[in-house]
């Protein structure tokens, strides 16, 4: 417990901030991008941006797995719920807007939609209520996908199926490098996704794109340290892949988890809300598990949904082109209580994170 406090030590933080400041002139303007809602939470909650020199900027990429679920897939879940199937999902998926309504609104209209903390909860429910049909709406990046795999491969009850909406992080990182005016100088890679996938998937960033990349943990010192490591690389003109989080991230990741994912899923192209289609960025159940694929079982497929409502700028926020407070609706028409876009709905959404810390950011 005391060791954890060392990862939040203010003196150490000031020390690292001073080192960043002294390296900054040599590094020049440095724009660092992370792709994790929890990293944005740490940065915002601990006011880390206020510790950085003017030339070092940290922007938030599409790190919120709930925010990037396309409206079409929310519509599929709503459709299933309206067919009388019990739809189970994680908490913040409930309020994400679909083209016509969210799962919460479907629930209010009489559908049986239930929040679960873990996939296994859905399995238990299905076992206890064999007369009902259940679907687990599987949302999340590589941190969450292995648990869906464990259950899908564990001979789940026949009255349960999966609506799979998992996405993969490295393709999103690659996309950001193609956004011309973004001009990213380095990446902070997500610590817990990396606990699963290891370091290999990021190798192309320093090697092909000359992009310094540091895998970071979630304590404020972890993030500050990662920023320091990137600024140091910039000042030396190097581009390396480094691991700031070796206490959790092994170079090989979690081989068991990767094996389960491979057994349960194939990689396919996927739509990302506000971004569009990214090749090789989504997971779908293998043919061998077709009986558990909700889309096949119930012939449910929505091709195109209404991703961004009029006036909403989530598509600019999630790729780091604008900050939440640069969206005209932020904390006016769009608030945590009455969210317009997905970025304000999820706990990991950039706008939601900023809404809790508005004073610090300004």
């Amino acid at each position: 417990m005391t060791e954890n406090l060392k990862f939040r030590n203010p003196e150490l933080a000031q020390n690292i901030a001073a080192k960043i400041k002294s390296l900054s002139p040599k590094a020049g303007k440095t724009k660092i991008c992370h792709v994790c809602g929890t990293h944005e939470w740490t940065i915002t909650h601990y006011g880390l941006r206020s510790l950085l020199p003017e030339d070092v900027e940290v922007i938030a990429g599409p790190g919120c797995p709930v925010c990037i679920v396309p409206a079409a897939e929310i519509d599929e879940a709503v459709q299933l719920a309206q067919m009388g199937i019990v739809v189970t999902c994680f908490g913040d998926v409930l309020r994400v807007p679909g083209s016509k309504m969210s799962l919460l609104e479907a629930k209010a209209a009489g559908a049986d939609v239930r929040i679960v903390y873990a996939v296994s909860d859905a399995v238990e429910m299905a076992k206890h209520e064999p007369q009902k049909q259940f679907v687990f709406f599987a949302v999340g990046f590589e941190t969450t996908a292995p648990s869906t795999a464990v259950e899908a491969l564990g001979n789940p009850p026949k009255n349960l199926s999966f609506l799979v909406s998992h996405r993969l992080i490295p393709p999103a990182m690659e996309l950001l490098l193609g956004v011309g005016d973004l001009q990213i100088d380095g990446f902070i890679a997500p610590g817990h996704v990396s606990a699963i996938i290891g370091l290999k998937p990021y190798e192309l960033f320093p090697r092909v794109y000359r992009m310094p990349t540091v895998v970071a943990g979630f304590e404020p010192i972890d993030v500050l340290m990662a920023i320091y490591m990137i600024v140091k690389q910039q000042s030396e003109g190097t581009a390396k892949l480094e691991n700031e989080y070796p206490r959790v991230v092994k170079p090989e990741g979690n081989p068991k988890a990767l094996e389960m994912m491979n057994k349960a899923f194939t990689v396919t192209g996927g739509n990302w809300r506000g971004i569009g289609r990214l090749p090789d960025s989504a997971l779908q159940l293998r043919e061998s598990l077709a009986d558990y694929d909700a889309r096949l079982k119930y012939s449910v497929h929505v091709e195109q949904g209404k991703d961004i409502l009029l006036g909403c700028e989530c598509h600019l926020v999630i790729i780091g082109k604008i900050k939440p407070n640069e969206c005209p609706m932020f904390m006016k028409a769009c608030t945590p209580e009455k969210p317009v876009g997905a970025c304000m709905v999820s706990n990991e959404g950039t706008c939601r994170v900023w809404s809790k810390n508005v004073a610090i950011q300004s």
């Binding site: 990862f7 690292i16 080192k19 002294s22 903390y117 873990a118 909860d121 648990s147 606990a195 070796p246």
Partner: protein, 65 residues
């Protein structure tokens, strides 16, 4: 705290005990684990954590600015 097949009882601190699925890790009783949505996804080595802290300190002391 104790392991039974694929499930383990994990102490989250302050008296909170929860059942966690450990099939994704090789954990022994007494290990610290990283839990995500009810599943342990990695074993955390206290030794590594302490090593990280001392490594940081030496980096910060050694770098000539």
């Amino acid at each position: 705290m104790n392991i039974d097949g694929s499930k383990a009882n994990v102490d989250f601190g302050q008296g909170v005990l929860r059942e966690v699925n450990v099939s994704l890790v090789d954990a022994k009783v007494g290990d610290y684990v990283l839990v995500h949505a009810g599943y342990a996804i990695q074993v955390i080595e206290e030794k590594e954590a302490l090593e990280t802290l001392s490594l940081w300190n030496s980096i910060l002391e050694a770098t000539p600015e």
